[in-house]
Structures are given as structure tokens and as C-alpha cells.
Symmetry: C2
Subunit: 255 residues, 2 copies
């Protein structure tokens, strides 16, 4: 199994605090040592980092922990290989372009005997069930809409597609095109929203705390989605099984 | 205008020496300060780094200069904006997936009034003429072949496509899918092959030399392609205008 971390923010926000805690699970407080990856949207551009080394040893992960890359949508993943060897093409998140948008996807879980035919223009480079599922989602989105749909329409389509894959196993995933963050849970996913007045937060995986009120203003709003709560002193809301949620401008949308 | 750097190697090889010299042109020995990017293939996986900061200031470029990422195919680019604003989606190299391969592309030059219709599945995310040309090439490749063609067939198709774009302006480009490196010149591109017995090389842009014989064995072979020669004491061969060359296992192929 793997672990997921996603961020959706109203204003460009850095994820160094959360990523520092999350990366501890790649060997220190967890055994997710078979690669890691993170993708940051800046408007519709993407910075995409993947490594088959673990996120606590990788020199590139060290830069991410220390260099505040500001972004409105981030998806990160640490991998414990279940299907597919430990190799660069098997590291999440995966990126594809559709309708002139980059789409970033990461999956936590295991899909059994899941090999739908890929008759469109999206094909996996690696050998994971996750990338196969992502390519199928991209193919079906491409058939369902002629261009980038509204966030509401996209959410409805994704709910249908997630429900068609879910019977094959555990399908916790994060998806973003830079405009919104979609998150689907089968087993374990939690979210929280940080907004004014901000308070202090302490990581669960590392002896580190931060006072968000010193760094954020009234306009800042951030939502964090993660496999298991990252902090001890904040209220994390669990997803129900089968639930797909969407976050825009740092806030959970009732769509 | 921009500058290009490509590497094709028989065995996984690091590019820290060449990239150190190349990055000096992003502000120190050149004025290519409007972003940079580099993509490393590891088998068919890609590590892709882009930044709208300059390659001599960027903390991520510093990691690339110091952390030896070993790769068989690398494409790097430093940008001086001619078309398209300075932003992340406009940073080369660009990446798309076709036939289950990632394709990495970087362009140096300027295409005038070049806007062919994109009726396929590849669309630019940014606003550069370069990404538009890349999407058109991907579209035409997809129409010309049903799957990844042989390197010989791919080279013939690319020659036809490059000849159709070249009348619009300057079209120096590098393209790779991890199996080979294709390079096309309109104005300025040079290459060299490093093989046994290796010798010493001294950068033109920085006071740094390296003795390749201490780091390489009989089996190592590397080809470097670049906009302007990187070293003072090696023999760089210029491309003729309109020439498209292909490199496999560190050697220029007569195809």
C-alpha cells in the first residue's frame, strides 16, 4: 500500500510543513520506501518530481522539504510496491495532457484483475494497476466531454467512473488539473480546511510545530487531504467509503 | 532565443559536468534567464524538472549540478523568451505520452505565423510556438504509425515533419523517447562522441576540467548535442542546416 497527500489552496501556498511530516512515513514512521513523487501546479503548469529512492533519503525530496514551492494544487505519493517493480516509470503521481490541461493522478490501494481495454490515446508507460486505471479514466473523460468541463460536470463524471473501478479493490485516489482537487476514498482518506483565524499545528510524525497565524492572512484558505492525519491538534474529517469529494480555492465543495 | 543540450549514452551516465557549463549561460556567460528545464530518461521513465527562475539561481538546478542523476537520454533547455510569457507552462522541455512511451521535446528558435490546426489528442498547455510544434509532431506521428516504429522509420518520418515546419523559421530541436535522441538543426547545433580512450575536457563557460578516462570504461559511449560547443579541447562537429541526426547508444547513426 501507499500513502497520499493532496493540497488545494486559494492562494499559492507552500507545503513544506505537511510534506516534512508525510516524508517521515517513507522509512521512519512508516515503511513506504519504494519511491515517491510530488507534483505542484503553478496555474496550469506542473513541476513534477519522482524518485525511486525513498523520500527521506532522496536529495530531491530534501530540496522539496526546504525550498518553499508555492502552489495552489499539489499531489504527493510515497510508495510501498504491491503491483509493479520499484522503478521510475512506476512512481506516482502520473501526468497526462488532455484538452490543453495537465492532469495529475496518484493512487493508494490495490486493484485485482483490473485490465480494461485501452482503445484511446492514453497508455501506461510503467506496469502498475494505478497507471492503467488513470489511463482508462483519461480515455473515458475524453469520450464524455469535448473540452474541459465545469467542475460540477467533471465531478459527476468522475463519480461514475470511480464507481466502475471501485469493485476491483481499493481505490483511494487524488486527481487535479490545477483548477480543483478531486479525492476518492475506498478505505482511508481524511481532510481538513485551514482558514482564518489560523492556529498552531503539530506534526504527528516529527517533532515540529508551526503557527499558521504568523504566516497567513484573512484571504488564505487551504484544504489538505491525506491517507492518515498529519497533525495531532487539528480536526481531520474522514471520508466515507465510496465518497468522491472536490476542493476548490481551499474549500470542500458540496457538489 | 534559447539554448539546447542533449545527451545520449550507451550506459547510464551523469551530465553534471556538461550541465554545469551549460547553466553558466543562464546569466553568467549568456542571457538565457527566462526559465530552464531538464528531463532525464531512466529506461522509459522520466524525471522532469522545470523552473521559471534562471538555471544559475534555481535551488533545483543546484541539485542537478551536484547530484549525479544517471541517465541514457537527457534533454535540457535554458530559455530567453521570444514568444510566450515567462511562466512555468512555457518552460521546455515538454513531455507527452504516445504509444506507452514518454516523448520529451525542446526547441531553440522562433517560428513565425506557425499555427497548424491541432485536430488530434495533443494540445499545448502554454502559449509558445514550440509546444504548438511539438503537439503537431505528436499528432502527425500518431497518424503515421500504429505503435512505436523502429528508430529508422521514426527518423524518416521526423525528417519529413521537420521539413514541413522549417520554412516557418528557426527550428533547432531535440526529441527523445528514451531509446534514441533525435536532433534537428536550422542554424546552430554541434555534437561530439566521447568513447574509449577517454581524455581530459575543459569547459568553455567555467573554469572546470575533468578527466573522463578516470570515470569511464571501455564500454562507455556518450554523444553530446548542444547549441554551442561546451568544451575548449574537444572536437565538436557542426550540423548542416536542415539536418536531422539520430543518436543511439552514444553513437551517431547513419540513417
Amino acid at each position: 500500500m501507499c500513502q497520499l497527500l493532496g493540497m488545494n489552496a486559494k492562494t499559492p501556498t507552500d507545503l513544506t510543513f505537511s510534506f516534512t511530516g508525510f516524508a517521515q512515513r517513507a522509512g521512519k514512521t512508516g515503511d513506504h520506501v519504494d519511491g515517491w513523487g510530488i507534483a505542484f501546479f503553478e496555474e496550469h503548469g506542473v513541476r513534477h518530481f519522482v524518485d525511486h529512492d525513498s523520500a527521506i533519503r532522496s536529495p530531491i525530496a530534501e530540496v522539496i522539504r526546504n525550498y518553499p514551492i508555492k502552489s495552489t494544487n499539489v499531489i504527493a505519493h510515497i510508495r510501498k510496491a504491491t503491483q509493479g517493480v520499484v522503478s521510475l516509470p512506476n512512481c506516482h503521481p502520473f501526468v497526462r495532457e488532455l484538452w490543453g490541461n495537465y492532469w495529475v493522478f496518484a493512487h493508494n490501494g490495490d486493484l485485482k484483475d483490473y485490465k480494461p481495454r485501452l482503445h484511446g490515446h492514453f497508455h501506461p508507460v510503467g506496469t502498475t494497476d494505478s497507471e492503467h486505471a488513470f489511463c482508462w479514466i483519461m480515455q473515458e473523460l475524453c469520450k464524455s466531454h469535448v473540452g474541459v468541463p465545469s467542475i460540477r460536470e467533471m465531478t459527476l463524471t468522475l463519480r461514475e467512473l470511480a464507481a466502475r473501478i471501485s469493485p476491483y479493490g481499493t481505490f483511494n485516489f487524488l486527481l487535479s488539473n490545477g483548477d480543483a482537487l478531486w479525492a476518492h476514498a475506498t478505505t482511508s482518506l481524511f481532510y481538513l480546511e485551514r482558514q482564518w483565524p489560523f492556529s498552531r499545528a503539530t506534526l504527528s510524525d516529527e517533532d515540529l510545530s508551526i503557527d499558521f497565524s504568523e504566516r497567513n492572512g484573512r484571504d488564505d484558505q487551504t484544504a489538505i487531504v491525506v491517507t492518515a492525519p498529519l497533525t495531532q491538534d487539528e480536526h481531520w474529517t474522514p471520508f466515507a467509503s465510496g465518497e468522491l469529494k472536490v476542493f476548490v480555492d481551499g474549500v470542500h465543495q458540496n457538489l
